[in-house]
């Protein structure tokens, strides 16, 4: 059932595709970090309608599947607008938008944990709105939530196989292609599964280490 020599033969190809997986996940996470921050800041806007719009967007993106969002971005966007992206760019955009809404909640929890007095002090010192955000609030709000953001990096890594639906050749699609050439299915899928398992276990070990470091620094 398990053929070691065959497994060794297909491993390099799968590892190469795994690099694509990691690349897409990291780029998507990077975008999500930015989008999440923008959403979190606008969700505290002074204007009610802006807050309402941001909340609705977040709610909508969070309650629809990433797969369908990817299809929409990849197949409909070029028909509605003159824009058209490669599979990789669409995948990164999809991951960034989807998990940006999740990360905005993470930022929110960090921002709400900053004492009210900090906002008032910034106002008393006559700091501008921008200065208040970037010099006072965010430097205090973000570091404590970094481990939580790390957890979402793990989630994103595990979601990247979904990008195979829009023809991005990552590990799962590469395993599928390998299997369709040789008709041997067990090894490629098992290796793909183990690769994900190892990566997410390593990452979650890293996150829990970071959690400990953060706890020592901010609660001690």
């Amino acid at each position: 059932m398990w053929d070691w020599s065959y497994a060794a033969e297909i491993l390099p190809g799968l590892l190469k595709a795994f690099r694509n997986t990691i690349g897409a996940a990291l780029a998507g996470f990077g975008l999500a970090v930015v989008i999440g921050l923008v959403l979190a800041m606008f969700a505290r806007s002074r204007w009610g309608p802006v807050r309402w719009v941001i909340r609705s967007i977040v709610e909508f993106i969070r309650s629809t599947p990433l797969l369908v969002q990817l299809f929409f971005l990849y197949y409909s966007l070029p028909m509605l607008t003159p824009l058209s992206f490669s599979a990789f760019a669409t995948g990164v955009l999809g991951l960034g938008l989807h998990y940006g809404t999740y990360l905005s909640e993470v930022y929110r929890s960090g921002i709400e944990a900053v004492p009210r007095g900090q906002w008032e002090a910034a106002k008393a010192l006559n700091l501008s709105r921008v200065k208040t955000w970037f010099s006072v609030i965010l430097p205090q709000a973000i570091p404590p939530v970094i481990p939580m953001m790390g957890n979402y990096l793990i989630v994103i890594v595990k979601e990247t196989p979904t990008l195979s639906a829009i023809t991005l050749v990552e590990v799962l699609l590469s395993a599928k292609n390998t299997a369709s050439i040789t008709y041997r299915v067990f090894e490629p899928y098992t290796i793909a599964g183990i690769l994900f398992l190892l990566l997410s276990l390593v990452l979650s070990f890293g996150v829990s280490r970071m959690e400990k470091i953060m706890k020592r620094r901010y609660a001690g």
Partner: protein
């Protein structure tokens, strides 16, 4: 087309929600067990199934397992993969909610000479249950979203039907996907609403 697809999506969602809730209850309560062996098994299950990628797990169960002599139907592999994966997350919710019940409640039930099962089902669980509801609601929305992945193993769910529609009416692609997003949003809204009603019902005594 959409109605038929919605039927399949709902069927898979309900069945896998059943599996997920059962697993989260078993593994969540089991990871607080007195027996080290039971605890270890539950921890292993939670760690393992939280660490795998759901789509890879689904592929593995449907395409690879037959080579190991275990043949699962499309529906069964979908329900098992989604249920086991989401169940591992649910187990963490159950464990956390049970752990959040104040220690005094345990001590009080010992003082009142309640049996083990009475303590769990009459005192601890009802309080933990209320705490579980909001995160469980979010998890059920994740589960609903996860059912879209069964499109990959060609189960004719909402997403699959939409792709077929799209092949036939290519120029309507944006509307088809827009509608699909709308349907998932409505289904998710139903879950949110149901959880809210449950929450109101179970916190009425407060």
């Amino acid at each position: 087309m959409f109605a038929r697809g919605a039927g399949v999506t709902l069927k898979v969602a309900l069945l896998s929600a059943g599996v997920a809730l059962l697993m989260s209850l078993l593994a969540g309560l089991g990871s607080g067990s007195r027996f080290a062996f039971v605890r270890a098994i539950c921890r292993l299950y939670i760690q393992l199934f939280r660490a795998v990628s759901l789509l890879v797990l689904l592929f593995w169960m449907y395409f690879a397992l037959p080579f190991a002599g275990i043949e699962l139907s499309k529906l069964l592999s979908a329900v098992l993969a989604i249920g086991l994966n989401i169940g591992a997350y649910g187990a963490e919710i159950v464990r956390g909610s049970v752990a959040a019940v104040p220690k005094g409640q345990y001590e009080a039930s010992i003082v009142l000479n309640l049996s083990q099962s009475q303590r769990l089902w009459r005192v601890v669980f009802p309080q933990a249950f209320v705490r579980m509801l909001p995160p469980m609601g979010n998890l059920m929305i994740e589960l609903l979203k996860a059912t879209s992945l069964i499109y990959f193993i060609t189960l004719a769910d909402l997403t699959y039907e939409a792709m077929i529609l799209r092949n036939n009416y290519y120029i309507w692609t944006p509307y088809i996907f827009g509608m699909l997003l709308g349907i998932y949003f409505l289904l998710a809204a139903c879950i949110t609403m149901a959880i809210r009603i449950l929450e109101r019902k179970f916190t009425a005594w407060r």
